[in-house]
Symmetry: C2
Subunit: 362 residues, 2 copies
């Protein structure tokens, strides 16, 4: 496999020098783009879009045609793995994901098994291959999975939740059952990500959307430790970097930095300068603009983007910053805001590096 023409994103994750701060956006292929909505309409449903490699490829590339983003991310859903376990993923209109057969009792837990990625998840690896072909090595492709804990939340709750009552009740009453679900999920997520690497994914991201709902102590045991085991099981023969993103994970950055990942995704409650001071040069950081900033006029978007860049400061030797939002982009985002954001991040970060280079040559 060859190096992408634009490898700024990979270099930043590896904390190597870059000419500017690379940027991509969580959920960059999404409903804020009219062309995405057109393709989704053609697909018939969100799940059909995920499960048809040619269409998944088409929407993956759409934001790159509009904006000079520094990475593409596989278009898929975070719940493909439990769907392949037979839980019956579906989307009720306006309600988010649901499972027909949630995992609520011991019998259901005992029945869980690791799905073979080359069988029920073949559509994902096919999409990775198709996208790599279409990208033609312009920018790197990110593969991803939900974290073992985040998948467990959906599997036990049967969908989204306000209070995570079902999964936390199981956690506090029957930690053995939650541990058994997590054991299966660790193996399933590792096999799934390894299949994506084999198909051509050049970086990996683990989305721990619900790690932040756990108590201190429970987070380390039920979310972080399973992610550590996933990272350890990855076959990264070309050194594919791994990003771990726990939404609400600000309290635990030092802990996350110790599980073998290359970068930590952070949400907008975290000050990047303070985060950097806490983790030193152990990991790169990814983030962390509030997606709602994109609701403002382009001029204000630029101001807020510069604040995030300045909070991180000049990466300098041994540090790395990938600009991103602190959460997925909203469907209500005006596409022009994204153009202003990408332009501002590239321009300001180039200016800072030039300024610092000329200052140090004085």
């Amino acid at each position: 496999m060859s190096t992408p023409a634009n490898d700024t994103f990979l270099r930043a994750l590896r904390r190597e020098p870059t000419d500017y701060t690379p940027i991509w956006l969580m959920r960059q292929a999404g409903r804020y783009l009219p062309e995405y909505n057109a393709t989704r309409k053609r697909a018939g449903s969100f799940l059909a879009l995920c499960k048809t490699p040619e269409l998944a490829c088409e929407v993956t590339l759409q934001p790159l045609a509009r904006y000079p983003l520094d990475a593409a991310i596989l278009f898929s859903d975070i719940l493909t793995v439990p769907d392949a376990m037979g839980l019956g993923l579906y989307f009720a209109e306006g309600e988010g994901p649901k499972f027909e057969r949630p995992v609520r009792d011991e019998a259901a837990v005992r029945k869980l098994a690791v799905p073979d990625p080359s069988a029920g998840l073949r559509y994902v690896t096919d999409a990775v291959r198709t996208i790599r072909g279409a990208l033609a090595d312009r920018v790197p492709l990110i593969g991803f999975s939900g974290s073992p804990w985040t998948l467990a939340c959906y599997m036990v709750e049967g969908g989204g939740s306000d209070d995570f009552r079902q999964v936390k009740t199981m956690l506090y009453r029957r930690p053995d059952l939650v541990s058994r679900i997590l054991d299966v999920n660790v193996d399933a997520v590792a096999a799934y990500l390894n299949a994506q690497i084999e198909a051509g994914a050049q970086a990996l991201m683990i989305f721990d959307s619900w790690g932040g709902v756990l108590a201190d102590g429970a987070y380390q045991r039920f979310s972080l430790e399973p992610m550590r085991r996933v990272v350890a099981a990855l076959k990264r023969e070309r050194g594919e970097p791994v990003i771990v993103f726990t939404k609400g994970g600000g309290p635990w950055l030092e802990d996350i930095a110790g599980i073998g990942c290359d970068a930590i995704g952070v949400d907008w409650t975290v000050n990047l300068g303070r985060a950097r001071a806490r983790i030193g040069d152990r990991c790169a950081l990814q983030g962390n603009l509030d997606p709602m900033v994109l609701m403002a006029e382009p001029e204000q978007v630029r101001v807020e983007a510069v604040k995030v860049l300045d909070d991180f400061g000049d990466p300098g030797p041994g540090a790395g910053h990938v600009f991103n939002l602190g959460h997925g982009i909203s469907q209500f985002t005006p596409p022009d805001s994204v153009a202003a954001l990408v332009e501002a991040v590239h321009a300001h970060s180039r200016r800072v590096r030039r300024r610092d280079a000329s200052a140090s040559s004085l």
Copy 2:
């Protein structure tokens, strides 16, 4: 006004020595208690319950009859203030609070005015007086308000929200309008809390339920600074202590400790030992058990309660800990779990203090 027979809670907030760690629970008068549901049914609606001082008094006292809690908290809603501004608070079945007339544009913002607590909020101060009479100085009574920012969220969104798109769009596009709302709310909250103090509230709590959705930087400006102004405006002639609770406020404990409050409420993502190391003896801490722990068997509840106490450690001279949940108690909580929790907190914290006292006398 006399000192309550049991002033452990007030002493802990003032970081004075106590015989044990006091405990009360956010939303301790609530739907998990059958006697609460009976009174609410009699009232006809949640709002009628809030607005009838005798019934509000009745439910305030119910948890104290069951459990040896160390404080009572005024039974009321956090949205009484914007309701008194004329926004039309109502509760749609199973949907949480809503406003008939949300504050969405400049004209609506300009019309906002500080309500006179002795007029439209008279039912609250009447409830405080009634409860103080019924409590007969057994334990202290906590008065409370939503924070200026949290009230602004509900006022602009018109109800709860997943992404706070309306209020954040206003914040990033028209920060002047959000500042104007916050100015009104600061004066309104201060007048409201002062009226509660005058009616007999012996401690105050500011619930900043939505400060944690703000970005670093925006939190300090739009949530914390208005709370600082509220605290500064309080007439605490008997030194009534103030607790500030920002849900998700873990990143900003040092900042919160600087606004003049006596104690900081923290949610369960925060490790109490680390929080204590960060703020030193500047404030007491209140929290922080995950309310979902109460779904477990009493034995497990005890184990988790002891963990929280041990994370804080012995208060020792100059420190203070008030045990609480990290959020309101769930309506699905078995009442026996609460009994086990209160018993465990009292017993274990007494044991720790005796152990440390005998160790230091050796």
